[in-house]
Amino acid sequence: MSGLALALVLLSGLAQPDTAVAVGRGDQVVVQHISGEILVRGWERAELEVVGDDGEAVEVRVTRAGNRLVIGSDDRRGRRNADFTLYVPRWAPVEIVGLELDVRLEGLDAGASVQNVEGDISVRGTAGSLAVTTVDGEVTVESVRGAVRVDAQADDVVVRDVIGDVRVTSGTGDIDLIQIDGDHVFAETIDGELTFVGPLHAGGTYEFSTHSGDADVTVPPEVSAEVSVSTFDGDFASDFPVTLRRSSTGQRFSFTLGGGAASLSIRVFDGEIRLRQGRGRP
């Protein structure tokens, strides 16, 4: 641990400062009440380490509560500002709760959750369920195997190269879902653009909704789906040959692509809907 400037204070008294902390199977790593920039990186060792960036001192408290190893400040009011890299076993689930955190997660295999108020969140190369909730800050998720859930309120969300179900909501940000391979995909923004690129699986459900913004959906040419498109004030453009059927009431119409094996719903109140053929981002 060259260059480490770390003070680990274990309330349990089982370790001395500047030592790594053993993590057992079934343990969960929790980061609480820290502000700053943190990188959480999975590694093969069965222990966690906190490494200060650029050799700066990091003083955090590590406590154990049952199977939870909590890294944080002494109390909720005593929030610490710290920039550091946290190494954790790949197989340990990670939970992060922050106020003003820029977070990067890499190489975690047992899922993770991030609850933050302000700051960007980036997740790359993880497996297991991922849940991100943030008020203000961009969210980027790449190369994930597992279900992804993102609840962002005021900024853009990019989810790319995911094998698993995806659910993303945003208040005033764009949502980009690129190369999503899942059975159930849901994306909704109030005031933002929405983009989806990916296959539609038989029996799968794919729902995209924006109140004010365009929806751009790209699916393979051989797609098989029942498609429902709804808009109050907008255009609809399709690369596919479609025959529109109007629903009983309102501005909703539907059509069938191929055998209609999947269910695709696109709802836009005020914006354009574009349905494209393709396998990659146009």
Binding site: R76, V97, L99, Q115, V117, E118, T133, V135, D136, D151, Q153, A154, T169, G171, T172, E188, I190, D191, S209, H211, S212, S230, T231, F232, D233, G234, D235, F236, A237, S238, D239, F240, P241, V242, T243, L244, R245, R246, S247, S248, T249, G250, Q251, R252, F253, R267, F269, D270, R274, R276
Partner: protein, 238 residues
């Protein structure tokens, strides 16, 4: 004037705005003197207008359906993206046949009362005309950042109580929040409220639209979801 009850109600917005002619105003006032229900509706109106600190965007200028109606049942070209051209709303002959809102509907969704201003606009220029937001009087924006003005009473009954509770919780807990965070929360709530208002107006123009009904309910649900998230954020950091 042998107006129906609904027609009296439709005149209330113009009455508030001072847009009625002298005869119409006199006739309406005579009716109000006799009709307690209309007096109550007028009071609701004024209450809503007073609370309308922020109006939604102007009504969308175009309606999809007239443009796609001709395409129903007809194959769409596969040569590139087929765009279904939509007419602008300003064209003649697209006026809604009329909107009749019952008193219970108005009472249940007080925000729809503001739509009556739009109805008044239609009487001047038919069609899905954009509503001039200045037609509706507005109260000064709420100054207190930690108060979350409740319109939960206008929400679907299944959500109203929960929304009220969440707004109350957020108001109570929000005092300790960072001002910037509070600002973000307020801003996002205003975006959702605007979406709700847009949906209401659209639904008033096309009351039979299941899409718009669902969209409006979903907007309320989105507000509930957002409030839940906001309360959680406050609790994490309280």
């Amino acid at each position: 004037m042998s107006a129906t009850h609904e027609e009296w109600i439709l005149q209330l917005s113009g009455y508030i705005d001072g847009g009625l002619s002298g005869d119409d105003r006199s006739a309406l006032e005579a009716h109000l003197a006799e009709c307690g229900e209309c007096r109550q509706t007028l009071a609701d109106f004024r209450s809503v207008v007073a609370r309308a600190g922020e109006l939604g965007d102007m009504l969308p200028a175009r309606d999809l359906w007239p443009g796609i109606a001709g395409a129903i049942g007809a194959p769409v070209s596969t040569r590139g993206a087929k765009v279904i051209a939509l007419p602008t709303v300003s064209g003649a002959g697209q006026a809604p046949a009329g909107i009749f809102l019952s008193r219970p509907q108005l009472a249940a969704a007080a925000g729809i009362l503001m739509l009556i201003s739009a109805v008044a606009t239609w009487t001047v220029g038919p069609g899905l005309a954009a509503v001039d937001a200045t037609d509706v009087a507005t109260a000064p924006a709420q100054e207190s950042e930690t108060r979350f003005a409740s319109e939960a009473a206008e929400a679907p009954p299944s959500l109203a109580e929960e929304l009220r509770s969440l707004e109350s919780a957020l108001g109570d807990l929000g005092n300790g929040l960072d001002p910037n965070t509070l600002h973000i929360i307020h801003r996002n709530l205003s975006v959702i409220d605007r979406a709700i208002e847009d949906s209401r107006r659209a639904l008033a123009l096309d009351p039979g639209s299941d899409f718009l009904e669902e969209h409006l309910v979903r907007a309320w649900e989105r507000k509930r979801d957002y409030l839940q998230s906001a309360v959680r954020v406050v609790e994490w950091n309280g």
